[in-house]
């Protein structure tokens, strides 16, 4: 909540964690660019906090003053727009208010990715969030699922916030500094832009969340309909899925020969092409450098995709793809277990332009594909050998 009341220097000093005398010295030396005796704005308080943090990290006043003049600290002014309320609850009070055990609140905080000190400074908004959590648990969501969701929310939203700040820095803040714009002008422009953009992010994310929920609920329903009812029942938390790993052959050499920018562009084109061509039931779970992990519920469709995708990729660097089908452990939005490791190893055996698959996929694939048996192969890290096949389009006739 933003307060309009005028802040005194001792109050600001308390918030920043320094003495009033230190604050006055920073103003006098223009480390904080405001006139002595003028009113504290929220932006200046945010700037003072940043100065305090930089001092703690050993930066000299001269360095900080120069950074302020150059506009390098300008984004700190936007911090005011994201201000977090003062702590109002102890852990015990929050537990009493929400009906959650203190230990569970700590587990929730840890799952969300907050530091251990989070429970020492719980705000009204934190407690409201905990009330939602308590309501979800009371409605019947199992604790194991709830804590996994907390971890997924925490990781995904931390990545979003990190990307927002980094992209803003790279494409807004840096160009202003390169133009030689004065520090205060940069700060004003950054604050103005942040003020305009910030209210747009949450509605966009809400909408996307709804759209994706709709998509995945639909996929889940279809998955239930198409599941092989004769299959052995899987343990709770396990899913039988098709897993593909794909990367670009010769990526390291490409980086060396053509530079990082061109190599990154090649990866972006590759990942976009993957995303735009996947079957309805499949999605990219993660990307690590030039490697993409894909999971789908329909194994035949994923093999078709892999073979078709290779035919579309006619320019170097060519992808290498491995596909496997098996039982995985689903945790926190990701897939784990032996079969996932196996799929990664299968992909590592393929060369540029190739699709290598395991036996379960050969058995479900359509007649339009051909499979050349490679043989029983001992994959790295596995005690037993795995039967591998090279998949390719069948003859036209």
């Amino acid at each position: 909540m933003t307060t309009e009341q005028e802040l005194s220097t001792p109050e600001v000093a308390r918030r920043v964690g320094v003495t009033p005398a230190t604050l006055r010295r920073w103003i006098a030396s223009q480390v904080i660019p405001m006139q002595a005796g003028s009113a504290w704005t929220q932006g200046m308080v945010a700037h003072a906090r940043i100065v305090a943090r930089l001092r703690e990290r050993g930066h000299s006043l001269a360095e900080i003053r120069q950074a302020t003049e150059d506009g390098r600290l300008a984004f700190g002014y936007a911090e005011d727009l994201l201000r977090i309320d003062d702590a109002e609850y102890t852990l015990k009070q929050a537990a009493k208010d929400t009906g959650l055990e203190p230990a569970l609140i700590e587990r929730i905080g840890s799952s969300l990715g907050f530091s251990t000190s989070w429970t020492e400074q719980l705000t009204e908004d934190d407690v409201q969030m905990l009330r939602y959590g308590a309501a979800a648990l009371a409605a019947g969501l199992p604790l194991v699922a709830f804590l996994q969701l907390c971890r997924v929310y925490g990781q995904a939203l931390a990545q979003i916030a990190d990307a927002e700040v980094r992209l803003f820095h790279l494409y807004v803040h840096e160009p202003m500094m390169r133009e030689g714009m004065p520090g205060l002008q940069i700060a004003e422009q950054m604050e103005g832009l942040t003020r305009q953009l910030l209210p747009l992010a949450s509605p966009m994310m809400d909408h996307l969340h709804q759209r994706f929920l709709h998509h995945f609920v639909e996929q889940d329903v279809i998955g239930h309909m198409e599941a092989d009812l004769g299959d052995t029942q899987l343990d709770l938390g396990r899913l039988r899925v098709a897993i593909a790993f794909a990367d670009l052959a010769g990526y390291t050499r490409l980086t060396e020969e053509q530079g990082e920018e061109e190599a990154v562009s090649a990866v972006e084109r590759f990942v976009e092409a993957v995303e735009h061509t996947l079957p309805e039931d499949a999605r990219v779970i993660k990307t690590i450098g030039d490697e993409v992990m894909i999971v789908g519920s329909d194994p035949a469709a994923l093999v078709d995709w892999a073979v078709g995708f290779q035919q579309l990729m006619v320019k170097r660097p060519l992808p290498r793809i491995g596909v496997h089908y098996g039982e995985t452990l689903y945790r926190e939005g990701d897939y784990y277990g032996r079969e996932v490791n196996l799929a990664a190893r299968v992909a590592a055996r393929s060369a540029g332009g190739e699709v290598i698959v395991t036996r379960p996929l050969v058995e479900v694939a359509g007649p339009h594909l051909e499979f050349e048996r490679i043989g029983e192969v001992r994959l790295k890290g596995f005690a037993h050998s795995t039967e591998l096949f090279l998949a390719r389009p069948g003859d036209d006739d």
Binding site: R269, T277, L278, P279, W305, Q311, L312, H368, L369, D396
Partner: protein
């Protein structure tokens, strides 16, 4: 399994595809982006014995795209695609993954297909618009 919805005639197919290409060319967002991408394509529909070549317009020409229902053109396509008319119906309604269709031999491609893949996100809104046209005016093509 792909759902089949068939055109009543080659003339209807041409009329419908003309409508799709017009949407692509005249949409204020999509048209300029397709023009800038500048990927001449040739589509062949052997079951109807039809061929269409489409490219970005040159400076003096109207709109963003121009297309000719023949191979008698003075430009070379960068991408070639061949598919049956019912596959084309699914493709332009956004119901056909190009990679799956290639593997299942419903679409044959040649040339710089990667260039065609870059057009997919651009033309996505056209799929939805075309599906609405089908719903309203060509219900027999609904998928």
């Amino acid at each position: 399994m792909a759902t089949t919805a068939s055109f009543q005639s080659a003339a209807e197919f041409r009329t419908v595809l003309d409508r799709v290409f017009t949407m692509m060319s005249e949409d204020p967002e999509i048209g300029p982006r397709l023009h800038a991408a500048d990927v001449p394509q040739r589509f062949a529909f052997p079951d109807l014995d039809l061929v269409v070549n489409i490219r970005a317009t040159y400076d003096e020409e109207y709109g963003n795209l121009i297309w000719v229902w023949s191979d008698d053109v003075d430009w070379e396509p960068r991408v070639r695609m061949e598919m049956a008319s019912d596959t084309a119906n699914r493709y332009f309604q956004g119901k056909e993954s190009i990679a799956l269709a290639v593997a299942r031999r419903r679409i044959k491609t040649s040339g710089d297909v990667m260039a065609a893949l870059t057009l997919i996100p651009i033309i996505k809104p056209v799929h939805a618009a075309f599906a609405r046209v089908v719903e309203a005016e060509y219900p027999h093509l609904r998928i």
